[in-house]
Amino acid sequence: MEGLLTLWHDTGIYHFEWKQLVMMAVGAVLLYLAIVRKFEPLLLLPIGFGAILANIPNAGLNDEGGLLYYVYHIGIDSGVFPLLIFMGVGAMTDFGALIANPKMLFLGAAAQFGIFATLFGAIALNVIPGFEFTLQDASAIAIIGGADGPTAIFLASKLAPHLLGAIAVAAYSYMALVPLIQPPIMKALTTKEERAIKMEQLRPVSKREKILFPLLVLGACIMLLPAATPLVGMFCLGNLMRESGVVDRLSHAAQSEIINAVTIFLGLAVGSKLSAEYFLTLETLGILVLGAVAFAIGTGSGVIMAKIMSRMSGGKINPLLGAAGVSAVPMAARVVNKVGLEANPQNFLLMHAMGPNVAGVLGSAVAAGVLLALVG
């Protein structure tokens, strides 16, 4: 019966260390948030499950030859998975509202201040003993303020892979928390009259404009910021497939089969980075705090920019729209709509908020490109 003893010496019970238990609890919390609270379940469910699998003692899923090892190295280390997700998101995105009102791009730009201010904050945290963020670390953390999951994962995999798990978890968690984080900031920075401003109906956008738009974005990116072309390029490819109308099979594949399959594996791979060694550290605490700060600053700077534009336009722009500039598509736009309706039950801002919302996606991809070019 030595076999039973061997088995006993192999059991998880025999091998558990408390840190692994804590990490599996973290995974369980993520599953809870995904399933019961419905926080970004498409990502948090596989991430949470991956976190549990990665921390099983003696199972070796994370070791060379294990499933999670393959998924991480093939999909994330190479940068392929976030790029495929970006292609799919591009194929799902309708830029109509932004093309009709291109000034909304300024709101998407302003909201990126959340990223760069947080970068400064992360470095400032180094004065506290125990924190030793490099510029690379700080940049990867700051991108959480971009409120865009695949961008955060892509940048973190390039600049600070050891922080990837915490960064991805923070990014998706805060994106899910947008309806809680944003409204108080939006209300604090605007008056009720401002929030009640109704906006003119958007002009219809022609098919040709929609086809040209991704090509122009790609052109600008090529000329000004080649470092952002992997992200922006795949996003534009997806959008071009969508809008061209001649490759519906491919567009459908990008926004359905490919993105679904990749999402499962991306989630598992991110989860595999939630090991005790990297996650149960003071840095993680810092990342969680800085991520929340980044979201708040991004929301605030977007709203302030929108206030300025509102004044300049003679009150034709509702400053709430600025909050949608952080991206977190389409949650942030819905929050804008909701807060707008509270101020004026006839004030439907959803379509208008889609403009800054998708501008925020471009904005954070550009910010990621800048960071890659300067500290990568």
Binding site: P102, A109, F113, F120, A124, L224, G363, V366, L374
Partner: protein, 78 residues
């Protein structure tokens, strides 16, 4: 690198980053506005569509009538 130098560099990054983001997206604003000038609206296409649809979609008019009446019936009964 000591922390002051790092902070300086971070501040520099903040400035450069925000300038770049605004330059980039600002350029896009101009580009999109310019594009709008040279792109005719889709109005003719929109007018064409209703005429073109029946050939593409081939919904038997009798069937449509039948279903419309069914839905009408349903509504009346509700």
């Amino acid at each position: 690198m000591d922390i002051t130098a790092l902070l300086l560099e971070a501040g520099n990054l903040m400035l450069v980053g925000m300038i770049s983001v605004f330059l980039f997206l600002g350029l896009l604003v101009i580009v999109v506005q310019t594009m709008a000038k040279y792109c005719p609206a889709d109005i003719p296409a929109a007018a064409k569509k209703p005429a073109a649809q029946p050939t593409n979609n081939t919904l038997n008019p009798k069937l449509i009538a039948a279903i419309t009446s069914a839905v009408q019936q349903y509504r009346d009964n509700k």
